[in-house]
């Protein structure tokens, strides 16, 4: 009975209550008593108790009913049932309802000590679980955004703050930095969390398609519109619209969206009646839109409309202290996914990862870990798993032709797979015949 607890005794017999109080005070616990179930509930409303000893046989609300109410309203409170009218049935019922233990009056002093030890262990487990859950939540506070660096901490601090407003947010950062994850986190923390989150990659859609996707269309609005369709601006009502690569949209679409943002109404293509819409816009870009505005390549009024709040996501090279945490996270993820026990990384390999510049940011790191886990034959990733990172540096790659990069990459994978064509084809995600053709095309030869 090491830990001091706050205990309540619920028993209609005064002598039992006094006896309990006296006994537990000798251990330094804070003890209170209630003569009935309703008195106990009243006390629970005012004060938090760690542990309740509840007698089964009481006039009015009996102990089993009280146990049910406690477990419903205060699930963390530990309840030990006490009774002088014990039966296996009541014991089973009490335990099924969530009682931690069951004691028959009178108890041997050691029994009380054992129960208290059990309760202390349960409390320790609960608090340990809570600590670990908080810790995980702290580390991966917003979905899968992982980081402990000051720059990421600043973003974690910002997310709940900006989530509460309805202002448009622009997330700026290089490819692979996790802009969409941040957008999702803002949505999840916002009052719109129960509404939809719709993400559209503006860079991936031609202008006409983007327009019909966003605004929807009426039946017969254009050739092929055999039935009408709701647009995402309509579907997203009550939620958050995430427009990725907003820097890529056409000047016409900028005007259309500006109007939507100002009027909160849309008109479907081919329709004349505007529909009210209610969404929060989060945009993202890897481009420098300020520069684009200055050069006249992006509308200034639209830029200021989408950029009420700006969040800059740092590239991985500016938060290298997060690399070990990210590596551990991806190791666990891919060990689980591939059912391979690759859960360690040696110091040398970690140094390589920390030295590398990561032009593809977190996404590139994730791909590197996935590849290393797939190819690894041991539980620990060593420097050889990341030798491909030490070779062509990104700037160098940019200066080479795509053909040359492809040739070198295929050669590297073949070397790593010991020129086992089947395995290399698996890694490259192409079939063996194609790989053979490429080997021939590039004149690759197995070293003698």
């Amino acid at each position: 009975m090491d830990e001091k607890m706050s205990i309540m005794i619920v028993d209609d017999e005064m002598i039992i209550r006094e006896s309990f109080i006296h006994w537990f005070r000798k251990y330094g616990h804070r003890v209170e008593a209630a003569a009935s179930g309703s008195e106990a509930l009243e006390k629970l409303e005012k004060t938090a108790f760690d542990l309740l000893f509840v007698d089964i046989k009481m006039p009015g609300m009996d102990g089993i009913e009280l146990l049910e109410r406690i477990k419903e309203e205060y699930p963390d409170t530990i309840v030990v049932i006490i009774t002088a009218y014990g039966s296996i049935d009541t014991a089973v019922k009490a335990m099924k309802l969530g009682a931690t233990d069951y004691l028959l009056k009178p108890f041997k002093p050691e029994q009380v000590t054992l129960v208290m030890q059990k309760v202390a262990q349960q409390r320790a487990l609960v608090s340990q679980c809570r600590y670990l859950r908080d810790r995980i939540e702290e580390m991966t506070r917003f979905d899968n955004i992982i980081g402990q660096s000051p720059k990421m901490e600043e973003i974690f601090r910002l997310i709940p703050e900006v989530a509460q407003s309805n202002s448009s947010i622009l997330i700026v950062g290089e490819t692979g930095t996790g802009k969409e994850l941040i957008a999702k986190a803002i949505h999840a923390k916002s009052p719109r969390a129960n509404g939809p989150f719709v993400a559209i990659n503006c860079g991936a859609l031609p202008d006409t398609l983007l327009e019909s996707e966003l605004f929807g269309y009426r039946k017969g609005a254009f050739t092929g519109a055999v039935s009408g369709r709701k647009g995402y601006l309509d579907i997203v009502s009550g939620g958050t619209l995430f427009l990725d690569e907003i820097g890529e949209i056409s000047p016409k679409m900028q005007v259309d969206l500006l109007r939507v943002l100002e009027e909160k109404k849309i008109t479907r293509i081919g329709d004349r009646h505007p529909i009210d819409v209610d969404f929060r816009l989060i945009s993202a870009t890897r481009r420098n839109l300020e520069k684009a505005v200055a050069q006249g390549n992006f509308r200034e009024d639209f830029y200021y409309r989408i950029n009420v709040i700006m969040i800059r996501v740092p590239p991985l090279r500016e938060r290298k202290e997060d690399i070990p945490l990210l590596v551990q996270h991806f190791l666990q993820k891919y060990s689980r996914e591939t059912a391979k026990r690759v859960d360690h990384i040696d110091r040398e390999a970690m140094e390589i990862l920390k030295r590398y510049d990561w032009p593809g940011n977190v996404r590139e790191l994730e791909n590197a870990i996935e590849r290393a886990v797939v190819l690894s034959k041991s539980r620990t990733l060593g420097s050889e798993s990341f030798s491909f990172l030490a070779a062509p540096q990104p700037l160098e790659v940019k200066r080479r032709s795509l053909r040359e990069v492809e040739r070198r990459y295929i050669e590297k994978v073949l070397e790593e797979c010991g020129w086992n064509v089947t395995r290399a084809a698996e890694v490259l995600d192409i079939n063996r015949v194609t790989l053979h053709k490429m080997i021939k095309r590039y004149g690759l030869q197995r070293p003698s």
């Binding site: 009975m1 090491d2 006896s19 006296h22 006994w23 000798k26 108890f107 041997k108 009380v112």
Partner: protein, 186 residues
Amino acid sequence: MNEKPIRVGVVPIGNLDGIFAKTVAAHLLGYFHLQVDILSPMGHPDYAFDPGRRQFDAGLILKALGKRPFRNSQKVIGIVDVDLFVPILTHVFGEAEQGGRHALVSLHRLRKREDGAPAPLSQLLERTAKVALHETGHLFDLLHCREKRCVMHFSGSLRDLDQTPLFLCKYCSLYLRDAFKRASRP
């Protein structure tokens, strides 16, 4: 400021051999440095007998002790040879009013070995002394101690009691010293 010495009275209850009171007194003096008086005995506690449990209610005996004046004793420890209980527990080796004036030590369960055979007198006396020191600790508001090597550690069984030492751990010693200071203030 002159400090008043703390006097503890030891009261045999029922027909008891004088050795038990003397043992308790010697240990309170030796381990806790208290001034101890062996007081005149009280009668057998028939009034505290519970026919349902066939045991004696420790609370009622403590109440009876409380009715006697014991003018020269700040704390009073009764020694009794009956089986004591408190309502929630099957038995107790002793009982004390936490931070209060009266405590009890029962010899009844201390007399046996674990296998049921009678315990040798030396073991019985040592157990009696331990229970008395433990209950005296409670009278000076000491709580049960988590340290196994401390007389304030709770012993639910004779095995536990036999493993408990006669002395206090360093923290309980400090608490007791402070409690003595408070109790000595005129």
